[in-house]
Amino acid sequence: MDTLQAGLTGVLAGGLYALMAAGLSITWGVLRIINLIHFGLILLGAYLTFQLASSWGIDPILTLVITVPALFAAAAAVQWTFDRLRISELSSLLISFGLLIVIVQAVGNLWSADFRQLTAAANPYATRSVSAFGLVFPLPTLLAFAAAVVLIGGAHVALRRTFTGRALRAFAQDRAIAAAFGIDHRRIGVLVAGAAGATAAAAGMLFAMSNALTPATAFEWFGTVFAVVILGGIGHLLGTLVAGLLVGAIGAVVTVLLSPSAEPFVLFSTIVLVLLLRPQGLFARGGTR
């Protein structure tokens, strides 16, 4: 029963990983930018939620009204600059690594390196939970799961049904030809990056709701989130969602059966195996999405 409970909680918690990974995956797959700043934006989202909720007493979910536009604008501005400077994939990795360090250190200077956590008064969701069939699920985890399913599923549908979504898929497959058919790569790029920034705000808020914050957390996400991106297939949204849930489950079960510190070891071994056996990701059928 413990393992089942852990596995299911893991699956739900995996929604948060999927949400973090989705933005990274889509900018990598569509814009050919490996944007490590994304981790910095999630961190900023989490700290902003913490700050707004603690000092102004805003409900954590309502802080999204401020953080979503802010991070949308920040991510869009970064993409606009990258596009202007014609940054290659590898350079983007280097530049964003530098900028991520800047963000993490700046967050450390502003909020100190100590752990910060929303108080029970500011965060009414933390202590609530839902129980069913003898299993108990904390409310924040359920919220994260729901947000991941709604946002990623919604984005997936939007990609297939809307005009912009189709333009984007065309752009991902062949930039030159998409451009020849009148697709404005700059507008699309800024839009996609901005949307990824918005998901970073949501992911940050959900993380802050159930965890204590410290600047170095940004680096701790690295392993898990990249695992999800690669397992799901780069640029493959539904794959990312499934991979996120899978990684959550693996992590939770390993934690229960072995030990918490075995988790990264198992995860990275999985990534290496997947790269060896199915380099296009577990769920992608070759090609893009």
Binding site: S91, L93, L94, I95, I101, V102, F226, S261
Partner: protein, 635 residues
């Protein structure tokens, strides 16, 4: 003086000069504080150099430097700190452990078919996390608390503990930089440079890319591990968070990118500059800003000066030196604030600004302009052709029922083809008929889904492309892909150095000039590929392919996009190559050219062989006319 001899003089002199600072420290009145700072610079010099040998030279960026530092430090801390093994033995153990780690990481990563630079970077990012998780998991390794590492006993003549540490770091740093220097001036270094510029091209020319990448990661790991082992002494207390952290890769990447990744001195320049900057920021009470400044510097540099400072400084050394001297001395005279190190740092900043500022500092390829214009090809006979080996009629390439599918797409579906020595075969067919796929299969870059390919009687199934190249297959690319960082001469010399009979660079350069003359590029031998037009780049492709001394040469649309006059010239070169005895397969759309040149024409259509024979008969074949012009034209 040769590079090797310059190194033999230069490195001992540098070592002696730096060692003097410590040995005669008190006599010279050299403050201990500066010695400590120099020691830190030496540590980072060794680490940045270690990183650069792998990532700078070969172009595979690693985020995993902390894995080597940590493994080295842990080896010494556990064996020496906890189990009292002799310290110097633990240094060797650190080196061995890191080498094993490198073999595992490299063996996994470099075997990945889908490996690209970004995936390698992410994989290496994971390695320190895995190792630190292992160390956490298994508290028997460090007792769970971290390990105190005391200094080993050392000869009293060396001075105090700081002097001893400094001297040990000096030995490691000088050895590391010397290794980087030696590698850069050897075949190994040229192989890595070729990998960085165009890996699959290098492999196709005969460079054993996998072996050289593995060698690079092992050398990098050994240096990183030894230096990490010394680092354990410097910090005195080894715990997981202290050694496996992300500031290590940040530092070494910033240092190498700042200094310049393609030259052995780059990381040294970067390490000295960055360490000084960090020290000054700390002592000015801005310790919180250190990483912000460093991360910012990395981001700005990748955009502004991706090739690094060293190249810029070398292009205009006097202006930079003057800027440094004027600013530093000016501050010294004014004496308004700070101390010597601040003045030096600000002077160095001034030098950097002068060096990076765009404009006159960019060095042009003067050597290329100085050469007399000599349009005449110098030799009629191609050099070193093995005519005797390959009498006309011997079967060189033998494809039997070869097929290649991409998912459901059948790019080639059962092609049987023989090419004999001395033939000049035209391989034609509409777009998408499988011509380029066939070239990739024969040169070993792709595996056939079905069927066998023999080169000079030998089945190439399972051979890596560089072995296929050694077996006698060479190709050119439709879009020329020269090694952009090398001159025309060195582009060709690389192909000779790693050919069937390996040789050293000076000998290869001499031979290269003959091939360059043969295709008529002699006046441009010292130019960079960027200075060449498309026609000249295609000729370079041919010279480079010829330099591997092939039995059969595939020219993949070597005439596409050329003017009529250029086509005539290229056709002349192709004829000359054939007269030398090399069999040629020319892949073309232009039927006029093929008709004019080829002794035999093979027509592919939709992955199958449509016709094969004399040019005149083949071009009148109704099936061929249909494939090219459509049914109605034939009717």
């Amino acid at each position: 003086m040769t590079a090797a001899r310059r190194g033999l003089v230069g490195f001992p002199v540098a070592f002696a000069a730096l060692a003097t600072l410590s040995l005669y420290r008190e006599t010279m009145g050299f403050p201990l504080f500066y010695l400590t700072l120099l020691g830190t610079m030496l540590f980072w010099t060794a680490q940045a150099t270690s990183w650069n040998i792998l990532s700078g030279y070969s172009g595979y960026f690693s985020f995993g430097q902390a894995a080597f530092v940590g493994t080295g430090a842990y080896a010494t801390a556990v064996l020496y700190g906890r189990h009292q093994v002799n310290f110097y033995v633990t240094v060797l153990a650190a080196a061995a452990l890191c080498a094993v780690l490198a073999l595992v990481v490299g063996g996994l990563a470099f075997r990945l078919r889908s490996l690209r630079g970004e995936i390698f970077a992410l994989l290496t990012l994971a390695v320190p996390f895995i190792l630190s998780a292992l160390a956490h998991l298994n508290s028997a390794i460090d007792g769970g608390q971290g390990i105190i590492v005391a200094l080993p006993p050392f000869p009293a003549g060396l001075g105090g503990a700081q002097d001893y540490l400094y001297l040990v770091s000096l030995v490691v740093a000088v050895a590391a930089v010397w290794a980087a220097y030696a590698i850069q001036h050897s075949r190994f270094g040229w192989a890595l440079a070729a990998i960085r510029d165009a890996e699959d091209v290098a492999e196709g020319l005969g460079v054993a890319t996998f072996r050289y990448k593995m060698l690079a990661i092992v050398v990098s790991a050994v240096i990183g591990g030894v230096s990490g082992s010394i680092f354990a002494l410097q910090i005195g207390f080894v715990a997981v968070t202290g050694v496996f952290n992300l500031t290590v890769p940040l530092f070494v990447i910033v240092m190498s990118v700042l200094g310049g990744r393609t030259h052995w001195l780059g990381p040294v320049v970067g390490a000295v500059f960055v360490t000084l900057l960090q020290d000054r920021l700390t002592s000015s009470g801005l310790a919180d800003w250190r990483l912000i400044v460093l991360g910012g510097v990395l981001a700005v540099l990748v955009v502004l000066a991706p090739e690094g400072l060293y190249g810029r400084l070398r292009a205009g050394p006097w202006r930079a030196l003057a800027a440094f001297a004027v600013v530093t001395l000016g501050l010294r005279v004014a004496d308004a604030f700070g101390e010597v190190l601040d003045w030096i740092l600000i002077g160095a900043f001034a030098a950097v600004v002068v060096a990076v500022l765009p404009g006159r500092t960019v060095r042009r390829d003067r050597t290329a302009e100085r050469q007399p214009a000599d349009e005449k090809p110098q030799e009629e006979k191609p050099p070193e052709q093995e005519q005797a080996d390959a009498p006309v009629g011997d079967v060189l390439v033998e494809c039997t029922d070869v097929a290649r599918y991409f998912g459901g797409v059948r790019a080639l579906d059962g092609v049987t083809l023989r090419i004999g020595a001395g033939e000049l075969v035209g391989l034609v067919g509409p777009n998408g008929s499988g011509k380029t796929t066939l070239v990739s299969l024969v040169s070993g870059t792709m595996r056939p889904t079905r069927g066998t390919i023999r080169i000079a009687g030998r089945d190439i199934a399972g051979l890596p492309p560089h072995r296929v190249a050694h077996a006698g297959v060479a190709r050119t690319y439709q879009v020329p892909r020269p090694f952009e960082s090398m001159t025309v001469r060195d582009n060709v010399a690389v192909a000779i150095m790693f050919g069937r009979e390996p040789c050293s660079l000076p000998r290869a350069r001499v031979a290269a000039d003959r091939h360059i003359g043969f295709v008529g590029l002699a006046p441009l031998a010292a130019a960079r590929p960027t200075a060449l037009n498309l026609h000249q780049r295609q000729l370079l492709e041919m010279a480079r392919a010829l330099a591997t001394n092939p039995k059969v040469l595939f020219l993949d649309e070597a005439l596409a996009g050329l003017t009529p006059a250029e086509i005539d010239n290229a056709v002349e070169v192709v004829r000359r190559i054939q007269r030398g005895g090399t069999a040629i397969v020319i892949v073309e759309h232009l039927l006029r050219v093929v008709n004019q040149l080829a002794t035999r024409i093979v027509v592919l259509d939709k992955g199958t062989c449509l016709a094969d024979g004399e040019p005149r008969t083949v071009l009148r074949d109704p099936a061929v006319v249909r494939a090219y012009l459509g049914k109605r034209a034939h009717a």
